[in-house]
């Protein structure tokens, strides 16, 4: 065999190995991973249109959140981004996750962040020094990460197709059964973690515990 042919075969088998990750994942089910079975990207379905619209809103709000010159507005743009993410979960038929996302992120985490801004006396108005001097490096890093991720994802999952055919996959009943069936031990461990975080947060912020001699 000539060396060129051997090299080409090697490259091809390496390429097949890269793609075979998807093939292994799909074994034993009817998920679409091959070019011949996947619908074209030109046939846009209603789901995809809604997903793209909410996705653009989410990404725009996230971008405004990290570039806004006003800390309170940044927090409010974060509300829009996380609410849009709940909409994306709904389009992906993950109803329970969408509602939990709205309750915990929009209802609790952002309020906590706003309190954090208030107790650190962040100026409410426009603030010009919100970015560090290494902003160009941050832009380059983020763009490089995005390019790398998109290139890898397009290469690996070009033909993957989601069937959103209403299987009840994300309903409260099905998630609840999974959570309190096979996932019950991690769930309980998580509640201990939450308790530890609660006590830790109180212990850190109280003035009268720890390091008494210093004051």
């Amino acid at each position: 065999m000539d060396p060129h042919g051997a090299a080409a075969t090697g490259a091809r088998s390496k390429r097949r190995g890269w793609l075979s990750v998807g093939a292994t994942l799909s074994a034993g089910s009817d998920r679409i991973v091959h070019a011949a079975d996947a619908p074209s990207y030109l046939e846009v379905t209603g789901n995809e249109i809604v997903f793209i619209l909410i996705g653009v809103i989410t990404l725009g709000a996230a971008l405004l959140c990290v570039t806004s010159g006003n800390v309170v507005r940044a927090a409010l743009w974060l509300v829009v981004a996380l609410g849009g993410l709940a909409g994306l979960y709904l389009v992906l038929t993950a109803e329970l996750v969408a509602i939990v996302q709205l309750l915990i992120y929009v209802g609790a985490v952002v309020v906590l962040l706003l309190f954090g801004l208030m107790v650190t006396r962040a100026p409410i108005g426009l603030q010009l020094d919100l970015n560090t001097p290494n902003r160009p490096i941050a832009i380059i890093t983020a763009l490089a990460a995005f390019g790398l991720l998109v290139a890898a994802l397009v290469d690996a999952f070009r033909f993957a197709y989601l069937d959103l055919g209403g299987s009840g996959q994300g309903s409260a009943e099905s998630i609840g059964a999974a959570l309190f069936g096979s996932w019950v031990l991690p769930f309980e461990v998580l509640s201990i973690l939450l308790l530890a975080a609660l006590i830790g947060a109180i212990a850190i912020t109280r003035r009268d515990v720890g390091a008494r001699g210093r004051r």
């Binding site: 089910s29 998920r31 996947a38 619908p39 789901n47 995809e48 996705g55 990404l59 996230a62 971008l63 990290v66 940044a74 974060l78 981004a81 996380l82 993410l85 994306l88 979960y89 992906l92 038929t93 993950a94 329970l96 996750v97 992120y105 609790a108 985490v109 962040l113 107790v119 650190t120 006396r121 962040a122 020094d129 919100l130 560090t132 290494n134 902003r135 941050a138 832009i139 890093t141 983020a142 763009l143 990460a145 991720l149 999952f157 993957a160 197709y161 989601l162 069937d163 299987s167 996959q169 998630i175 999974a178 959570l179 996932w183 991690p186 975080a197 609660l198 830790g200 947060a201 850190i204």
Partner: protein
């Protein structure tokens, strides 16, 4: 729906969070960027869960756990920020450089 759409939105959210993490000066804004990156991971988990149609619902259950852990992380992070603000009277990460090497 093509799996690529959620994956690319997720990659965009992650990169935006990465930018905010590196470029922001206020500690609370850095925490917000971390939240964006966690949200990107959650979107990935949900998309792959729907794609794989897993019997144990691993992706969505893990998303719920990520949301709970993010809440705990924000609580602890803000407690640390508050304590730092009490001790140093600042929440700008540029000023917190006691651990850097002298130049």
């Amino acid at each position: 729906m093509h799996l690529l759409y959620p994956l690319i939105v997720s990659a965009g959210l992650f990169s935006i969070g990465l930018y905010g993490l590196l470029a922001r000066r206020n500690l609370v804004l850095v925490l917000m960027s971390v939240e964006l990156m966690l949200a990107a991971v959650s979107l990935n988990l949900v998309a792959f869960d729907v794609w794989l149609a897993d019997v144990m619902r691993s992706g969505q259950v893990l998303t719920l756990m990520v949301i709970a852990i993010a809440a705990a992380e924000v609580g602890l992070g803000l407690a640390i920020v508050l304590q730092l603000f009490r001790q140093r009277a600042t929440s700008a990460i540029d000023d917190l450089d006691t651990l850097t090497e002298p130049r």
